[in-house]
């Protein structure tokens, strides 16, 4: 399996360096930039740099710009990893390489992990570029808790991988990328608290938000970076995030094995 992870990551990196989709990169960067710019205008022009007492209560901070910038960075990272890993099998199908892949004794999890590894590396680079261009908007880490932040990122990667496996199966089953990925990303953007705390949402949407690991990732990340909370004081969120990650991962593994068995015939019908 390690062999399959490393060789798939290497293959993808080679293809990326040979034909890096620069327009896609710029589009992602611009999308992140304009979202932050929009938040900046709203905060400074409409709300004159003030946040309500409710916001401070829900988010634990009065620094709205750092709150929004962290949200946008997380969203960029989620899109980069989750989106591209979930598209990997259907891309093979469309490019006519799925048969040669599936005829080999490829380990599906090894293959997808290789994609995840490569995408994490690429997206981290993109995130660095996003950080540089959004510095003027005022992201501050006054009391970051590094251990808690790193643990949050690690568990988030597992949860994103689990979610990507599920979406990958859905894409292959319905032979669709556009509708599924756009729906999923719109829902994630709206319900996980990228630009505002989820407590502002109607209570029935909050139920849905609480089933998505990204909601917890965002909350833990902000509490660790902006407030400096440690692991123990966020234990409940960490445990929920870990449990959800395990559930998504398990469902993903079961689903992908079942769907990939039928994938070659999906090409005919």
């Amino acid at each position: 399996m390690i062999n399959h992870i490393l060789s798939t990551a290497k293959r993808n990196l080679t293809m990326q360096t040979r034909a890096y989709p620069i327009d896609f990169f710029i589009s992602k960067l611009l999308s992140c930039f304009f979202t932050i710019l929009g938040a900046f205008f709203m905060y400074n022009i409409v709300f004159k740099g003030n946040v309500s007492i409710h916001f401070i209560k829900f988010s634990g901070t009065s620094d709205y710009m750092s709150f929004a910038i962290l949200g946008c960075f997380t969203n960029l990272f989620v899109r980069g990893t989750f989106l591209n890993v979930s598209r990997s099998f259907i891309t093979e199908m469309r490019e006519g390489t799925l048969d040669s892949l599936l005829i080999s004794p490829v380990n599906y999890m090894g293959y997808l992990s290789g994609n995840m590894l490569e995408q994490t590396m690429i997206t981290s680079g993109e995130l660095l570029a996003a950080m540089i261009i959004t510095l003027p908007f005022g992201l501050r880490f006054p009391s970051i808790n590094v251990v808690s932040t790193l643990l949050c990122i690690s568990i988030t990667l597992i949860s994103l991988f689990g979610m990507a496996i599920i979406l990958s199966g859905i894409m292959v089953y319905f032979k669709d990328t556009y509708l599924s990925q756009n729906t999923v990303f719109s829902v994630l953007f709206l319900t996980t608290g990228v630009l505002f705390p989820i407590q502002y949402l109607p209570s029935w949407i909050q139920v849905f938000s609480n089933l998505i690991p990204v909601t917890y990732s965002l909350r833990i990340l902000r509490n660790s970076v902006l407030v400096g909370l440690d692991i123990v004081s966020q234990a409940r969120d960490f445990i929920t995030l870990a449990l959800l990650s395990a559930i998504y991962f398990a469902v993903g593994v079961l689903l992908i094995n079942k769907i990939m068995k039928k994938a070659p015939e999906k090409q005919f019908i």
Binding site: N3, H4, S7, T8, R11, T14, M15, R18, A19, E95, G96, T97, D99, S100, L101, L102, I103, S104, P105, V106, K261, P264, E265, F268, I269
Partner: protein, 332 residues
């Protein structure tokens, strides 16, 4: 030995009958095929487009799970032991796909080799040998997207051999290849079977290729096996079942028409006639060799301007065989 018995495969698709309504449609791609591939032998699988050749190959190569029937490969079960079987089979399909266009030939083979967990040194030697064999040595480090169609096809052949498979399924492997490369591939295919003892299943539209390479041939139509035999046996059927004659003659009187149609009925043959250049042109299709009888009958009544017996084609033979099969099924 690979032994398949009663393999069946259906595809189920949804057909939209309106905005909210859809119905399920079942397509019977393979309706029960038996075949055997012995190590060291080349077996041909022939049929028209849509006959079920590719589905059969995909089932045998573990890509598709059969709905019914069984298949054992060296004692391993095709479904239960699919993972083990993947190590000893591979498939080469015609066309330019099945390789990564943004990678070089070497990178493609390296990637697929690693999926088979081939040790590093062995993989390097194997890649060098295969690249040499398919004639891509000079351009082995160029991205595949810069290759011609034939070069991509040659790389695909190398990919199909990367795991040194014991059983190789070749789905029109010479499609789009230049004549010398196609000839080399045929020679290599023969040596894979004869010298290295590999069992090979080959589909092709070229009768010469089948005749030259195959030890045994199966003909399938609409998912069913309609004939099997050695190439010699198949060739004799081809010659007998698809005789076509093009005749130009001066006149086609009512008396001749009557006698002509009576004769064709007795030999279960068809004809098509049209006026041309002040005379008549007749196309006759027959399952039997009736050249002598036709000339004798026509020359009694009219002047024959030209008479041409067309070369029998494999495709015509398969069409005829499938028509005969359909006729037999209707009248069974």
């Amino acid at each position: 030995m690979l032994i398949a018995k009663g393999l069946k495969k259906n595809y189920i698709s949804k057909e939209k009958n309106g905005f909210f309504r859809s119905s399920v449609k079942t397509i019977e791609a393979v309706k029960g095929i038996d075949l055997t591939i012995e190590p060291g032998k080349i077996v041909g699988l022939l049929g028209l487009n849509g006959a079920g050749k590719t589905t059969t190959i995909k089932m045998l190569s573990t890509l598709l799970e059969p709905d019914e029937g069984s298949c054992s490969v060296d004692g391993l079960d095709l479904v239960k032991d699919a993972f083990k079987i993947k190590h000893i089979v591979n498939m080469i399909a015609g066309g330019e796909r099945m390789v990564y266009w943004r990678l070089t030939a070497t990178e493609n083979l390296e990637y697929f080799g690693k999926l088979y967990n081939i040790p590093k040194n062995e993989l390097k030697n194997r890649i060098d040998g295969l690249i040499e064999f398919v004639g891509l040595k000079e351009r082995a480090n160029e991205p595949v997207e810069k290759y011609s169609k034939g070069m991509k096809q040659r790389l695909q052949i190398a990919r199909g051999l990367i795991n040194d498979p014991k059983y190789l399924f070749m789905d029109e492997p010479t499609l789009g290849l230049d004549a010398p490369i196609a000839r080399d591939l045929r020679k290599f295919t023969k040596s894979l079977a004869r010298e290295k003892g590999k069992g090979i299943l080959l589909t092709s539209h070229y009768i010469n290729e089948i005749e030259e390479l195959c030890d045994y041939v199966y003909i399938i139509d609409q998912g069913l096996k309609i004939m099997e035999g050695t190439p010699k046996e198949i060739a004799s059927i081809v010659a007998n079942c698809t005789n076509q004659y093009k005749i130009k003659m001066l006149d086609f009187s009512e008396k001749l028409k009557s006698q002509f149609e009576t004769f064709l009925r007795t030999v279960q043959s068809d004809y098509f006639i049209e006026a041309a250049d002040g005379g008549y042109e007749i196309d006759v299709t027959s399952h039997m060799d009736i050249q002598g009888e036709l000339i004798a009958l026509l020359s009694q009544h009219t002047k024959i301007i030209s008479f041409a017996a067309m070369e029998p084609k494999l495709e015509d033979a398969i069409i005829t065989l499938s028509e005969v099969k359909a006729y037999e099924q209707i009248h069974a």
